[in-house]
Assembly symmetry: C2
Homo-oligomer: 199 residues x 2
DNA sequence: CGCATCCGATACGTCTATGCATCTGATACG
DNA sequence: CGTATCAGATGCATAGACGTATCGGATGCG
């Protein structure tokens, strides 16, 4: 641990990350300038270059922070003793307003990952953790409901995530036509019974 | 019809669109420079500004061209007399290699649409047409197979599209782990029986 | 309370993309 | 075959983002 100041740095770093989220969501990664982010955070570029080496590094840090937080929420939800199937569906279908910004940022990060193997590796790792947690929750709830999967749990988790991401895209393009979470509520229960069998 | 040249213009326009597809796919809309696109097409920026007013206009034209072409393929497929349910699933699951570039570009356009109401309107219209075609094909095939839908056809079409888009994202991030089309092949048949009833 | 250290601000130079204004050469028509 | 017109090339001026090098001020410790 360095001698000097220990309170300022984390605060400005957090402020920059928060501002980056908003700016990236609003304008996209490439269009958002470092200066805009700093201004929005109440700092100058000096602060930025003191905390990050490049806009890409900031992007990755932002994604990492979000992934970790998301995984935490997911695992605590799944390890809660009273989790039902409906509860799991609800968790997937309840989309908070703040989710929109994250959708924009993570989707752009996905596009970046498709182009850049290094980012792809990072994304794949986070996705695998999330999928594993979801798969574990699924088997857990299903067995408790007296049903067993007829397909691979991990692959079913992939399907659920695909529905969620694909559904969010449609919802955010035309919120009036498709409220966020509607696809999940309408179809997931049926899907879960379709790919399980009693006992 | 103008007097002057009639053959050069369409050719360079097409070349610019094709080059734009490649550059946008490779680098993203904002990162790809007009100059790169022109160079890749074998022209200079003079040609570009003669055919388009801005990079955004080019982007929109590219998206429009692709949408129209996609809708054409879809409708001819659906109106083919011998289309079976399996044929429809296959059509959704068979992902050509060229699809990757289009995925990158259209997904970026979707992000753009989420931010810009005008683009959202254009995207929503194209999506609605595609969904309508798909819904028509679904009901058509299902009734011929002696089954009737228990859910709204348009909403089911939304689900299929969500699965496809969400699945493509995962496939392109880790092609080794999830071959394109695998989710569709594994799950769509079961989904289609789950949300239909005999007779 | 004084001081060393580190954080963030300021100022500068550089580079790249853009858009326009002008020019040249190709095309279609008389 | 000559010519008017238009597509596309060339050159330049501008703007904005980036990165660094340096400076000032706040912080925590002795």
């Amino acid at each position: 641990m360095p001698k000097g100041v220990t309170k300022r740095r984390p605060r400005t770093r957090a402020a920059l990350l928060q501002a980056a989220l908003e700016c990236f969501a609003e304008q996209g990664f490439r269009a958002a300038s470092i200066e805009q982010i700093c201004e929005s955070a109440g700092y100058t570029r000096g602060a930025f270059y003191s905390n990050f080496n490049s806009k890409e590094e900031l992007f990755l840090a932002l994604f990492d922070a979000h992934s970790e937080q998301l995984l935490d929420r997911m695992t605590t939800l799944i390890d809660s003793t009273e989790l039902t199937l409906q509860g799991l569906v609800d968790a997937l279908a309840d989309i908070e307003p703040a989710e929109r910004d994250w959708y924009l940022v993570t989707t752009e990060f996905t596009l970046h990952a498709i182009r850049d193997p290094q980012a792809a590796a990072a994304l794949a790792q986070h996705d695998a953790q999330l999928r594993a947690a979801l798969a574990r929750g699924l088997t857990h709830c299903l067995t408790r409901a007296g049903r067993t999967l007829t397909v691979d749990a991990d692959e079913l988790a992939r399907l659920l995530i695909a529905v969620r991401e694909g559904g969010l895209a449609q919802s955010y393009v035309e919120p009036e036509q498709l409220p966020p979470g509607q696809l999940e509520r309408r179809f997931l229960p049926g899907v879960l019974t379709a790919f399980t069998t009693e006992g």
